[in-house]
């Protein structure tokens, strides 16, 4: 906040919130849902009820939302079935999953009280333009939303290459973002229309068979087109990615003039000769102009806030520390999480960073040890994800890297980065 105030040249008290935490002029933290998902920390229920927690404007206090929803429902401002069905769907599916695996799936009470669920159930699901008018349709619609919320909250964003479907109830972005999964949108639409069709006699001209047939044909055609475009573009995309990695090696190990790709063969790294498996674990040995070995560029990847984060970092064995880090690919939230790759001051944190005993993320501006990384305000989860990837890679690979005379000599012909 202070930064924003300085930027706009207004007194920082402009942003002060006089009622809670009066001594601070601004604070930032991950939302309760993110804390649950990534750190398995449950926010106390009382804080969720009163809204003394992080979240988007208007969604934080479950108690206020419940009262407002009750009042609006009693006044007949919307169809009461929709919010009730949304909450019922969440409790039924969330409760069942909680009973199966309480360690991993949060309790239904937590699900109800946090994120934008209550806000969405009262103000968004009941939107008169896009909600069903028939009573039975309202039940189907609401139960479907509730079930989707539980599925996305408990299982969303886990598969490494899944398209980035976000938690619809934990959105910090604008409303348009929520419709991100086009397939999900299509399904919702379809479900709603079918629900409508149950209650209102379908138009005589199109039987449900024709509706299904049309959508199936459209889906099949889309799939065919996508599969062929994917097959055509894949080699170029992979070549681009490989070239980007080679370019990045020059960045993360300063002074690099040539490099050699090494792949893990059993317990040790050997120079790559092109016959290795595509997914073999690889590092790049980097050399300066005189052929002196500078260090290694190591590729790592892992789950970020949205999707897989891929990065490359330079490791100098003589200093036992990192000398650089670059994010190769990420789909973190624009403006917040994507600063892991775009904020030069965050990248600078890795220019001289000790790896022992372990790299630790600290709140911005409080780093004191050589192994401390200043996290990005507003992107705690993404900062932590980067450091987690680094630590995992370090643990797995550092003692396997070739040492001293085992390091292969610099390649005779200098390899260009952008081939």
């Amino acid at each position: 906040m202070d930064g924003a105030a300085r930027l706009l040249n207004v007194p920082s008290t402009t942003f002060a919130w006089p009622f809670l935490h009066a001594e601070l002029d601004g604070m930032s933290a991950a939302t309760p849902l993110a804390q649950m998902k990534f750190d398995h920390v449950a926010t106390p229920l009382w804080q969720l009820l009163t809204g003394d927690t992080a979240g988007s404007l208007g969604e934080t206090s479950a108690l206020v939302l419940a009262v407002v929803g009750l009042w609006l429902g009693l006044r007949g401002a919307f169809d009461w079935r929709i919010p009730v069905a949304v909450l019922l769907g969440t409790v039924l599916l969330g409760g069942a999953l909680h009973l199966v695996d309480p360690g991993h799936n949060p309790s239904p009470l937590f699900l109800l009280a946090c994120g934008g669920l209550l806000f969405g159930a009262v103000f968004m699901a009941t939107d008169p333009v896009s909600s069903p008018v028939a009573p039975r349709g309202a039940w189907v619609f609401g139960l479907g939303i509730g079930a989707l919320v539980v599925v996305i909250r408990d299982y969303g964003g886990r598969r490494p290459r899944a398209s980035s479907v976000r938690d619809p109830a934990d959105e910090r972005g604008d409303a348009a973002d929520r419709a991100q999964g086009a397939a999900a949108a299509a399904r919702t639409e379809e479900g709603r229309m079918n629900a409508d069709a149950l209650d209102q006699a379908p138009e005589p001209s199109s039987s449900s068979l024709r509706l299904v047939a049309t959508l199936t044909a459209a889906g099949a055609l889309a799939g065919l087109l996508l599969a062929s475009v994917y097959a055509i573009t894949l080699p170029t995309i992979e070549a681009n990615a490989a070239a980007a990695v080679r370019r990045a090696v020059f960045e993360v190990v300063p002074g690099t003039a040539s490099m050699q790709k090494l792949v893990l063969d059993g317990a040790r790294f050997v120079p790559a000769d092109g016959s290795e498996a595509k997914d073999a674990i690889a590092v790049y040995a980097a050399y300066d102009q005189a052929g002196k070995h500078l260090g290694f560029a190591i590729q790592g990847q892992g789950r970020g806030f949205q999707d897989t984060i891929k990065l490359l970092y330079g490791y100098d064995p003589t200093r036992e520390g990192l000398v650089g880090m670059q994010v190769l690919d990420s789909r973190e939230t624009p403006g917040l999480g994507d600063r892991i790759g775009k904020d030069p001051s965050f990248a600078a944190e890795f220019a001289a960073l000790a790896v022992a005993p372990e790299i630790v993320v600290v709140k911005h501006g409080t780093g004191s040890e050589p192994c401390h990384v200043d996290g990005i305000t507003g992107a705690t989860i993404s900062s932590k994800a980067v450091v987690r990837i680094l630590n995992e890679r370090n643990r797995a690979l550092l003692d396997k890297l070739p040492k001293g005379d085992d390091v292969p000599p610099a390649p005779a012909t200098q390899q260009e980065g952008d081939k």
């Binding site: 991100q180 459209a218 889309a222 624009p334």
Partner: protein, 208 residues
């Protein structure tokens, strides 16, 4: 005798094309597609790339919907439009990733979000599904051009003020103190507000 209807057709086609550029400009008049207009216009090149990508998706979708729209039952038309649009967005995504990885990285998540640009769905529902393929494509290209122009205005203005450069070329020399807020998210709102104001003022003066 034949010349008059032909001329009519030509002028109709011309009208459908130019309306999107000025009179019904998607950003300045219809105020559609605000998400990309605000989010990716922090530099001229990003704005231009976003505009071109959106135009490509819009033109392909309009062509297909105009040709096939009458076979689609009205109950599932929106679902079908979304499938068609999402398909072309993914095609554009792959293509950019292969041909222009730098631009692809810069646009990031907003490329996939072209799916939910209401301009595209709106043109399918309002125009492409009811008009012959030729007109639908002209309408799409016109709207796309209008969208691209509007985004480029926003992007060029913001980059100029916030970074002192245009398409990455520094214009004002090293002594220019950049107005950083213009390339940050609030700058999008400021610039859009100023441009909307200017547009409305210009239209009012012309109407008099």
């Amino acid at each position: 005798m034949n010349a008059a209807p032909q001329q009519d057709q030509a002028s109709r086609a011309y009208a459908e094309f130019v309306k999107g550029v000025w009179r019904e400009n998607p950003v300045f008049v219809q105020v559609l597609g605000m998400c990309p207009s605000l989010a990716v216009t922090n530099s001229a090149i990003n704005a231009l790339a976003m505009g071109v990508a959106t135009t490509a998706v819009l033109a392909c979708s309009s062509l297909l919907i105009s040709l096939l729209g009458r076979f689609v039952p009205s109950q599932v038309r929106i679902s079908t439009y979304v499938i068609v649009i999402a398909t072309f967005v993914t095609v554009v995504d792959f293509t950019l990733q292969a041909l222009a990885p730098g631009v692809h990285k810069e646009l990031g998540a907003f490329l996939a979000l072209i799916v939910v640009n209401c301009l595209i769905l709106g043109r399918q529902e309002a125009f492409a599904s009811k008009n012959p393929a030729g007109l639908a494509v002209l309408d799409a290209l016109g709207m796309g051009l209008g969208f691209t122009l509007a985004l480029s205005c926003l992007g060029a203005g913001r980059e100029l003020l916030g970074n002192g450069s245009l398409f990455g070329l520094s214009l004002f020399g090293p002594h220019y103190e950049p107005w950083v807020v213009m390339v940050l998210p609030p700058g999008g709102f400021l610039m859009l507000g100023v441009l909307l104001l200017g547009f409305a003022w210009f239209k009012e003066r012309r109407a008099k």
